[in-house]
């Protein structure tokens, strides 16, 4: 099931010696809605595995007091109640064991089974087993103080037709001095793995608090519950709730972003500071439905390009000297040249420090800046999990990069900006509610264009697009004057920029069982992403970098402490100690890549023709030889050749996909896949049936076109598949069906090699 919102997600500290203030404090789980008494499910869901009859999550936020004064501690009570009907063996298995977490001294679980005849059976939770968790030593005191406990219990006598009804209670005390005034934000879809008849989210907040709440894609809004609110002279408790009914279970569709396609909500409770006028004037909780505050965005992110460290100094000092020399030599003619060369020079220094310096785990941390700028880094840790790491990839920390690039370019009188954006998977800028949702890259403008520059790795080409920036919305923060920011659309690449082009030269061996292939692949833009790390595994590019951006050491003057640099002893060469191993590994990985799509008989040679790391439109180009099997079959004296399979695996839409689509279409980016296949027809044979390979489907969303023509003793097949956009409304899904089905049909096409 979808992850349950839980206090367990909140990691915090407890202050000792505090007591609740004398007030009429509401308590959680007191009201059981009539929806939780239901035993029947709607007919439309009667054949489903299980149905959530009701689920309710309730939070109560109260302030603790010591004597007559409030402390900085907020007590949070959580109450979760679920009632689920088990309708088949799959659900019976899924719910036959119950794992749960409680927090606080009064943390507990209650569990009941309602048998088909109405009999209620209480599950004795004393039989639950507390699990030992591997908690890192530094967190152990926190877990102990918070009283976090992990339990599991096998549910006895659970049968198909039963209803399970359980609730969980937890309490934690949140010290604002240590943990901040904003509690953990929650972002989730209202669609569950099982269809849900009724769900409610409820907050009760003491005065001096507010909840930031936004609903999306048709989710209900938060409402105030006056009946459940308590208004007092000194203290007030205001209750808010959100109801959702009759919610179909999640449907999984390809190219779908859950938060953009399904009813979803974002919320977070915030404690107002004592000097906040809202806190005193209102004396009660409020719901904040405003957009994200741009000043807050500025304050939070501006520092990301202002964080000077010794590493930054080293990068900047080298780049500045290098650029000055190249300028003096007349090699940098315009801003575009300077920006590009600055980027590559900084990377050279970074890679030199990494690969040639005293490589050390501590240094690695230092270099990648993991001890810097804690809040942003914490967020990055989450984001980095989304950005898949490539083979042999080393990426500079984004704060080190931002500061280095900004400083080095400023020395050349070129101003950089920080582009803070809302990732497309989460929504538009207007959908942003919390600062934690945002991310940043650098943006530098020349007269010609704006460059969006992510913290580089060893493979990125200057100015190449990044999938996660595609179609994003954000704000640019300027550094040439204070408090400068303005709205900026993110980059959007076209299918002409992201191209996979493959030339095949196909010949048949005499035995007519396997085929030999010589293939040249040319990849640009996003199409390089999966292969560039593997293709450059030999690290020969380091030599090129070190030579191209080598600058003889200048005079070492005495520097101020804040300007100190690391002595990196720059030199031109690089001898990769693991080269042989890396070459072997590269071949194996390339071979594996082919095996993913073809029945490989033997992988031959690999040759890197262009490493794809330089220039705005840097192409990754390599050549391979290999032989494939099982593409030829006999038919009497003739042969059937699965020529269509050479374009690789194509998407085969499932039956339900052919029938329609429920959600909008979110692709990562537009792109083009081209194959030029030259088949050398073996002597004594002619080609028949090639006319079936001519196809043409073209619409506003995409296209698949193919041609096949005989040229002497060769059959030349050209195919092109284009995804023209990175988004379409669901109504345009038939366009996708049209060209995807055509591409699949082509991939299954055969020609006959007929014995003359």
């Amino acid at each position: 099931m979808r992850q349950v919102i839980s206090l367990y997600l909140l990691l915090l500290f407890v202050s000792a010696g505090i007591h609740p203030a004398n007030a009429q404090v509401p308590s959680s789980g007191e009201t059981i809605e009539p929806e939780f008494a239901v035993t029947a499910v709607p007919d439309k869901w009667s054949k489903e595995s299980a149905v959530v009859i009701g689920q309710k999550t309730e939070y109560i936020f109260t302030r603790l007091a010591a004597g007559k004064r409030y402390t900085t501690v907020v007590r949070i009570q959580e109450y979760v109640h679920k009632r689920i009907k088990i309708q088949d063996k799959n659900a019976q298995e899924a719910f036959s064991t119950f794992y749960y977490v409680t927090m606080g001294k009064d943390g507990k679980a209650e569990y009941q089974i309602i048998k088909a005849g109405g009999k209620r059976v209480d599950i004795d939770m004393k039989n639950a087993i507390e699990e030992e968790k591997g908690i890192p030593a530094i967190y152990k005191p926190i877990y102990y103080r918070l009283g976090i406990k992990y339990f599991k219990i096998a549910i006895p006598d659970l049968e198909v037709g039963d209803i399970i009804d359980y609730n969980l209670r937890s309490t934690i005390d949140w010290d604002m001095r240590e943990n901040g005034i904003g509690f953990t934000p929650f972002i989730f879809s209202l669609a569950n793995n099982y269809s849900t008849m009724y769900q409610q989210y409820r907050f009760v907040m003491a005065n001096g608090m507010k909840v930031k709440f936004r609903a999306f894609n048709g989710a209900s809004n938060l409402k105030m519950d006056t009946k459940a609110s308590v208004f007092g002279d000194k203290e007030s408790y205001v209750a808010y709730y959100m109801l959702d009914r009759d919610r179909e279970k999640t449907t999984e569709e390809r190219w779908s972003y859950e938060l953009r396609n399904t009813p979803s909500v974002k919320f977070r409770v915030i404690m107002l500071a004592d000097n906040d006028p809202d806190s005193k004037a209102l004396g009660m909780a409020t719901v904040d439905r405003t957009f994200i505050d741009l000043d807050d965005v500025y304050k939070r992110f501006v520092g990301a390009a202002l964080y000077r460290t010794t590493t930054v100094n080293t990068l900047v000092a080298y780049a500045t000297e290098y650029l000055a020399k190249k300028k003096a030599d007349g090699l940098l003619k315009n801003d575009d040249d300077i920006i590009r060369e600055c980027y590559y020079c900084l990377r050279k220094v970074f890679l030199e420090m990494y690969y040639k310096g005293p490589v050390h785990s501590d240094l690695e941390k230092y270099m990648t800046g993991k001890k810097l700028y804690k809040k942003i880094l914490k967020q990055q840790e989450k984001d980095e999990q989304k950005k898949e790491e490539r083979e042999d990839e080393i990426r500079i920390n984004s704060v080190v990069f931002a500061t280095s690039l900004r400083t080095a370019l400023a020395a050349q009188n070129i101003q950089s900006e920080l582009y803070v954006y809302m990732p497309r998977t989460l929504g538009t800028w207007r959908d942003a509610v919390f600062l934690e949702e945002l991310d940043f890259v650098m943006k530098v403008k020349s007269k010609r264009k704006s460059y969006f520059l992510e913290a580089f790795n060893n493979f990125d080409a200057f100015g190449s697009p990044y999938t996660y920036l595609e179609g994003s919305e954000g704000y640019s923060i300027g550094y040439d004057e204070p408090n400068k920011y303005y709205k900026t659309p993110g980059p959007l690449s076209t299918y002409q920029e992201n191209i996979s082009h493959k030339d095949y030269n196909v010949s048949f061996i005499d035995a007519m069982d396997d085929i030999n292939i010589e293939r040249t692949s040319v990849l640009t833009g996003h199409e390089k992403t999966d292969m560039i790390g593997i293709a450059n595994l030999d690290r020969d590019y380091l030599k090129k970098d070190f030579e191209k951006y080598y600058n003889p050491p200048g005079q070492k003057g005495k520097r101020k402490k804040e300007d100190e640099v690391i002595d990196i002893a720059s030199s031109t060469g690089y001898d990769n100690p693991d080269k042989e191993e890396k070459l072997k590994q590269r071949k194996e990985l390339m071979e594996k890549d082919i095996k993913n799509e073809f029945d490989l008989e033997k992988y031959g040679e690999f040759e890197l023709l262009n490493d794809g790391r330089y220039g705005d439109t840097a192409t990754l180009k390599y050549k391979e030889t290999f032989s494939l099997k099982k593409l030829l079959s006999r038919a009497g004296k003739n042969y059937i050749f699965d020529a269509g399979k050479l374009i690789g695996d194509q998407i085969k839409l499932e039956e339900k996909e052919l029938q329609g689509r429920q959600t909008d279409i979110w692709l990562s980016n537009a792109r083009t896949i081209e194959n030029n296949i030259t088949i050398n027809v073996p002597a004594g044979y002619s080609v028949e049936g090639a006319q079936d390979l001519n196809m043409s489907v073209d619409n506003e969303s995409g296209s698949f076109t193919s041609t096949a023509k005989t040229e002497g003793d060769k059959l030349v097949i050209n195919t092109r598949k284009i995804y023209k956009k990175n988004f379409d409304k669901k109504e345009l899904w038939p366009n996708y069906v049209a060209f995807l089905e055509a591409a699949y049909k082509f991939s299954q096409s055969k020609i006959v090699l007929k014995k003359k």
């Binding site: 054949k47 489903e48 595995s49 309708q87 088949d88 063996k89 799959n90 659900a91 019976q92 298995e93 036959s96 064991t97 087993i129 699990e131 030992e132 968790k133 591997g134 908690i135 890192p136 599991k152 096998a154 006895p156 006598d157 659970l158 049968e159 490589v359 050390h360 785990s361 690695e364 069982d513 693991d578 191993e581 072997k584 590994q585 029945d599 099982k630 030829l632 079959s633 006999r634 038919a635 009497g636 003739n638 059937i640 085969k652 039956e655 028949e688 049936g689 699949y744 049909k745 299954q748 096409s749 055969k750 006959v752 007929k754």
Partner: protein, 643 residues
């Protein structure tokens, strides 16, 4: 599997070191790296030496849970990274019977390094709760070639739990040593398994009161888990330490000298299960009411347990060996293999049958009861003796019929309780015929699409797999799952009108009838039509690369019997049918033929794989077999327009 035992080495625990507490530097192995990289490619860490030293001690005053003989295993390991500054990352297992103590790692400069340890309950996919614990161990290594040493001890509270010793680790080992220091008061038998061609040397030296038996092997490659690998006990060299008896104060006391002693301990453990038959009576009465024959009654009880008692395993301490009481399992409606076996026994006894608890090692284990050790078995079933015939009831098999046996227990020896005595017997072993898949398909051409109907019959393991797939799916996904099952992942096949079969009749095969369309299997050129009549092509892709490290275990013994008849379209005649092909070996065979019947072409195919494990030494001949099969598969029927 129903029971976890602490297994030494392989993917499990790790350990290392030389002399701790002393601060001298470790040797530099930089000069060896080049040759090690050749010998052990793709490895990050080489274990220069790994020694386990086993010693025994008498426990004069055993505390609860302790035995009269205890054992200590000191693990000492020298780790050499062949890459700079990588992190050592591994895990140690322990439980109520075995503790891990004195874990230490020392840097090349002789300094003890801080080890990051994260310890907690070990989660096994099949076991809901056990006493198994797991410690994740991490510490940073330094430059390549600089050796770290690592050491820890396993302390066994009772020597009966000291069983298996494996030689392989998940890192390569230059020198691997296991040394047993056996005192004169202890009678120990070290049984060797899979030692053939392992180059393990065994030496024995008498050193005063101690007999030192040492096993040494050099240049061991790392152990790699690969898909469809047989359980390591079947392939990898290992020892089982059988501690037969000890002498204390002049008195000889037997531990596990023979199966009789093992059975004796099992009996003791099971003596106080606390069954209360009265609580089962009503249920049994209801199940056998109206059943006339013995077989009907036994079946009724057996199948009810299969259908209604969920498999949830508790392996906590002695509960790894002792069944939960029958009335608890009945009330909870869950249990593990022991709980289910015990419930079956008690219910069948109430129904008037001679039912008994039965221990067995599944096909994952290469042993029989000539090995008196807790490692010998891992499962429990129930045996019913009726009119002199034994019926073995495995309550954990969710769909099996009475008198039918899952492949994982076929041919395995069983230990059946018999009061103070015991009975040894063996589960019948069935040929691949038991698992037969029989398909009869009629196809015809509709332009360039093949349309057809199939009647597919599933038996034995193939039937169990189908039942499992179908039953485990959500209700709303069952039809799709069934279609996907019969189309075998082929995107060109569109299944329709698939009829959910009758899963209730266990003694009969399952038959699935469906219609389908097969796209992209026909090529029309001028007057000719080329037709693919077999798109399933079983085993065509099962070839083994030279770099596979492990033997290959099939899911079960296979028997496919396929018959497909193509109706020749009006106006066409058969121009060509592929030649027949037949290949028989003792372990597998293939027979395929096309018959031109004028108005139709009949395709017949029979594939039998009668041996569930293919050894690495057999890969070449298997690959040649597959090549021949593919040669047959890669030929197709040609129809030509009649003039």
């Amino acid at each position: 599997m129903c029971r976890l035992l602490h297994v030494r080495s392989l993917c499990l625990a790790f350990f290392f070191s030389l002399l701790f507490g002393s601060a001298f530097c470790q040797p530099d192995f930089s000069a060896n790296i080049s040759s090690w990289k050749t010998l052990f490619p793709k490895e990050d860490i080489i274990v220069y030496s790994y020694k386990e030293t086993v010693s025994f001690s008498l426990n004069d005053v055993p505390k609860p849970g302790e035995g009269n003989v205890k054992a200590k295993v000191v693990n000492e390991l020298t780790l050499v990274p062949v890459k700079d500054f990588i992190k050592y990352d591994d895990g140690l297992f322990y439980n109520d019977q075995v503790s891990i103590d004195n874990v230490k790692a020392v840097s090349p400069k002789g300094k003890e390094v801080t080890i990051q340890k994260l310890c907690g309950s070990y989660k096994d996919e099949d076991i809901f709760h056990s006493d198994s614990k797991y410690c994740s161990v991490k510490f940073p290594l330094e430059e390549k070639g600089k050796a770290f040493t690592y050491r820890y001890e396993d302390n066994y509270r009772d020597v009966k739990y000291l069983t298996s010793f494996y030689f392989h680790l998940h890192m390569p080992v230059v020198e691997r040593v296991i040394e047993f220091n056996i005192p004169s008061w202890l009678e120990t038998d070290l049984r060797e398994f899979n030692f053939k061609n392992s180059n393990i040397e065994r030496t024995s030296v008498k050193d005063g009161d101690i007999t030192r038996i040492t096993f040494t092997v050099k240049n061991l490659p790392s152990f790699h888990q690969e898909p469809s690998s047989p359980n390591h006990a079947l392939s990898y060299p290992h020892l089982i330490c059988v501690n037969k008896a000890y002498t204390q104060n002049g008195q000889r006391k037997v531990l596990f000298e023979s199966v009789k002693d093992l059975y004796g301990w099992y009996s003791t453990v099971c003596a106080d299960i606390g069954n209360n038959p009265a609580e089962l009576k009503d249920r049994v009465a209801g199940l056998i009411a109206g059943k006339k024959t013995d077989m009907e009654k036994i079946e009724s009880i057996f199948y009810w347990v299969q259908d209604n008692i969920r498999y949830i395993a508790f392996e906590d301490g002695i509960m790894g060996f002792k069944p939960d009481a029958a009335q608890n399992v009945l009330k909870n409606k869950y249990g593990d293999c022991k709980g289910k076996a015990n419930l079956l026994k008690e219910m069948l006894k109430i129904a008037g049958y001679d039912a008994r608890l039965t221990w067995i090692g599944t096909s994952d284990l290469p042993y029989d009861y000539s090995l008196p050790s807790l490692a010998v078995d891992n499962h429990m079933i129930c045996t019913v003796i009726l009119n002199g015939k034994k019926y073995f009831l495995d309550g954990t098999e969710p769909f099996i019929a009475l008198n039918d046996y899952a492949q994982r227990i076929q041919g395995k020896q069983v230990l059946i309780e018999d009061g103070k005595n015991y009975i040894l017997d063996r589960i019948p072993d069935f040929p691949a015929e038991r698992n037969k898949v029989k398909k009869i398909t009629k196809i015809s051409l509709d332009n360039d699409v093949i349309k057809g109907t199939t009647s597919a019959e599933f038996n034995g393991e193939s039937k169990s797999v189908l039942q499992y797939v179908y039953t485990s799916m959500r209700s709303e996904d069952k039809t799709t799952a069934l279609s996907d099952f019969v189309k075998r992942g082929n995107n060109n096949i569109v299944v329709s009108n698939v009829q959910p079969p009758d899963f209730k009749e266990r003694q009969k095969p399952i038959t699935v009838n469906y219609e389908f369309k097969a796209n992209n299997q026909v090529k029309k050129v001028a007057n000719e039509i080329y037709v693919v009549m077999d798109w399933d092509k079983e085993f065509s892709g099962l070839e083994f690369d030279a770099d596979r490290k492990n033997d290959y275990e099939f899911n079960y013994k296979y028997n496919f019997n396929i018959q497909t008849e193509l109706a020749v379209p009006d106006g066409y005649k058969v121009d060509y049918v592929p030649a027949s092909f037949k290949k028989n070996t003792p372990n597998y065979s293939f027979e395929g033929s096309y018959t031109n019947k004028g108005k139709s072409v009949l395709y017949n195919k029979t594939i039998i794989v009668n041996k569930p494990i293919l050894l690495k030494s057999e890969f070449d001949s298997w690959n040649a077999f597959i090549k021949e099969i593919n040669n047959f598969y890669n030929d197709q029927v040609v129809l030509v327009k009649q003039q």
